[in-house]
């Protein structure tokens, strides 16, 4: 049924349709509306047979989720930003123990300085923790990916993060189709855990493993991700048959067939990118884009195939690897190794900086003329940077950088 609804509320309802038995909740902006929404559904009796547990921290949220999942319960939680960092140890434990927990990340930057707005620094910090990471392009896809995530996690015994851009998606009202309970029940079978902690038949999980077996254990974690490369498109296919719309899969291509310039990005910015591509196609430029839905596992073969016509690839990154450039661009280069295409890294949208059509268009035009430098920061205020570098160079005890830049901006605004 079609609704005009906030992204967070829609995800809360989608999670409830998946009949989780344990939901662990700890608030952090911009994810809070999601767990609040699930809590409200439990309280109203619309989500039954579900333990909604308010915990004292993010570390507790995922630790309780690990216990619940190990006891055989379908388990869900959500977090963002510093919250994900605070649960980092448990993030690795959940995947190491093979527990099919589903967790939403309402993508937000990481401080210091404190910033509550969107970028991908948080989920990127956990990219190699052994979880599957899916990135939603729209709120409809966020809804659909959560339903697919439970099936994927449980078929593989591997936890799944569904990443959705904070504020841009979590706080956006959009039209979307929420499925009926019978449809979700038909798609998502009951959870049949491969391991259950049971006092009647005690055994331990996560015990010490020495050098004689640790490599094999880790290899199998890698192998599980490679299995997911097969399973994600299969589940996406079944989903489209049951629900009548396609969502998920490994990548989404847009006008790539004959494209000489192809833009690659994760998440909601792909919508704006498509609008820019339509404008530039109208100007006669051979440009297209690829939205990567599955970042872990990373679809090397599918991406290489999608980019085969490209002379150059522009990666729009909502994260920064200081001292290197961008994480996504490095992964894209892995897919293109041995090929002739140039890869440009464009760092954009950090800490909620708006990504504007005009700015993207300028960058894509420069790239198509091979005039783009790598690594480029979209809409960087170079004057502010130069002033601050000069100040730090010439002032002893120059003080904190972030506060100095705020003072500069305030002065410029007067």
């Amino acid at each position: 049924m079609l609704h005009q609804i906030e992204g967070s509320e829609a995800v809360a309802r989608a999670v409830a349709l998946c009949r989780p038995e344990v939901v662990c909740a700890y608030p952090i902006t911009p994810q809070t509306h999601i767990v609040e929404g699930v809590g409200a559904l439990v309280k109203k009796g619309q989500l039954t047979d579900c333990e909604f547990i308010n915990v004292e921290s993010e570390f507790a949220a995922l630790s309780v989720a690990i216990g619940a999942s190990a006891a055989g319960a379908r388990t869900y939680t959500a977090t963002a930003s510093q919250g994900l960092l605070f649960m980092a140890e448990a993030v690795y434990n959940a995947s190491g123990l093979g527990l099919p927990i589903v967790m939403t990340i309402g993508n937000r930057s990481i401080g210091a300085p404190i910033n509550i707005w969107n970028d991908h620094s948080d989920s990127m910090s956990m990219r190699d923790a052994g979880w599957i990471q899916l990135y939603a392009e729209t709120n409809q896809e966020a809804v659909d990916l959560h339903i697919q995530a439970f099936r994927l996690a449980e078929e593989l015994s591997c936890p799944v993060m569904v990443c959705m851009d904070g504020f841009i998606l979590t706080h956006a009202y959009e039209r979307l189709d929420l499925p009926a309970q019978e449809e979700v029940d038909a798609f998502l079978p009951r959870f049949e855990p491969v391991q259950v902690l049971d006092p009647a038949h005690p055994y331990s999980i996560g015990a010490m493993v020495g050098p004689e077996a640790f490599t094999e254990v880790r290899y199998l974690a890698h192998d599980k991700q490679l299995q997911a490369l097969q399973l994600i498109p299969e589940i996406g296919q079944v989903f489209s048959e049951v629900f009548g719309r396609s969502s998920g899969g490994l990548i989404h291509e847009y006008k790539t067939e004959d494209a000489e310039t192809i833009v690659v990005a994760l998440g909601s910015v792909n919508g704006t990118i498509k609008e820019v591509i339509d404008v530039m196609r109208g100007d006669g430029l051979a440009i297209g884009s690829v939205s990567i839905c599955s970042f872990r596992p990373f679809p090397l073969d599918e991406l290489r195939d999608a980019l085969k016509s490209a002379k150059r690839v522009v990666v729009i990154e909502k994260n920064l690897a200081p001292g290197l450039g961008g994480v996504l661009a490095s992964n894209v280069r892995m897919a293109l190794r041995g090929g002739a295409a140039t890869v440009y890294t464009v760092i954009a949208g950090l800490g909620g900086r708006a990504i504007l059509m005009n700015s993207l268009r300028d960058v894509f035009v420069a790239a198509s003329e091979d005039k783009l430098t790598d690594v480029q920061f979209l809409d960087l205020n170079q004057a502010v940077v130069d002033l601050e570098l000069e100040r730090a160079r010439t002032t002893r005890h120059s003080g904190p950088t972030a506060e100095s830049i705020l003072r500069q901006n305030a002065k410029a605004g007067e």
Binding site: L2, F167, H171, S268, G271, T272, E275
Partner: protein
């Protein structure tokens, strides 16, 4: 595509206004998108919210740069924020005020826009009358329906009721209806 930018202050229901606009557009079968641009979320701080609607799927996510319509919930913002930035030459301006454009000091600016595209309505006073609280957002949506002709008053009323079922919604619908009538007559 039709794009609306709403300026106000924290506590005036700016974000909720954009959400209700999107619900009203949805009820008319349109694709609609509403989203906030939060600063630090606190009472009284400047807040901007956006709503765009179209007959086809909306993929664009950038903040609205060139609005077709502006709703200004608080005229004190005009001293500190460039609320008119990017407004299209044939755009609409709806201001929450009982003052004249001369008293607001914007008569020369608004003279550049088509007649009947610019209107001030005392939405806070209407809210005090009907809702008993100084929340101008719902009333201004009624005014928006009248000035722009983009949405039916009935859809606006149903959107308000979806967001605020019961007596609070009914009071806000009454305020919106009163604003609709005033703007339609202006």
């Amino acid at each position: 595509m039709f794009q609306i930018r709403i300026h106000g202050r924290g506590g005036q229901g700016v974000v909720t206004a954009a959400e209700m606009l999107s619900i009203a557009a949805f009820m008319e079968g349109k694709h609609a998108q509403a989203f906030p641009s939060f600063g630090s979320e606190r009472m009284g701080a400047p807040v901007v919210a956006y709503c765009r609607f179209d007959d086809k799927e909306i993929r664009l996510r950038e903040p609205i740069q060139e609005p077709d319509a502006l709703i200004i919930q608080d005229t004190t913002l005009m001293h500190s924020v460039d609320v008119f930035q990017g407004l299209k030459p044939d755009g609409f301006i709806l201001i929450n005020s009982t003052q004249t454009f001369e008293e607001l000091g914007i008569q020369d600016f608004v003279a550049k826009f088509p007649a009947h595209h610019v209107c001030a309505v005392g939405a806070t006073e209407l809210a005090m009358t009907h809702v008993k609280r100084p929340v101008p957002n719902a009333a201004l949506l009624g005014g928006f329906a009248a000035i722009s002709g983009q949405l039916q008053m009935d859809s606006v009323a149903r959107a308000i009721m979806e967001k605020f079922p019961g007596p609070i919604g009914e009071a806000n619908v009454a305020a919106a209806g009163a604003a609709f009538d005033i703007v339609a007559r202006t």
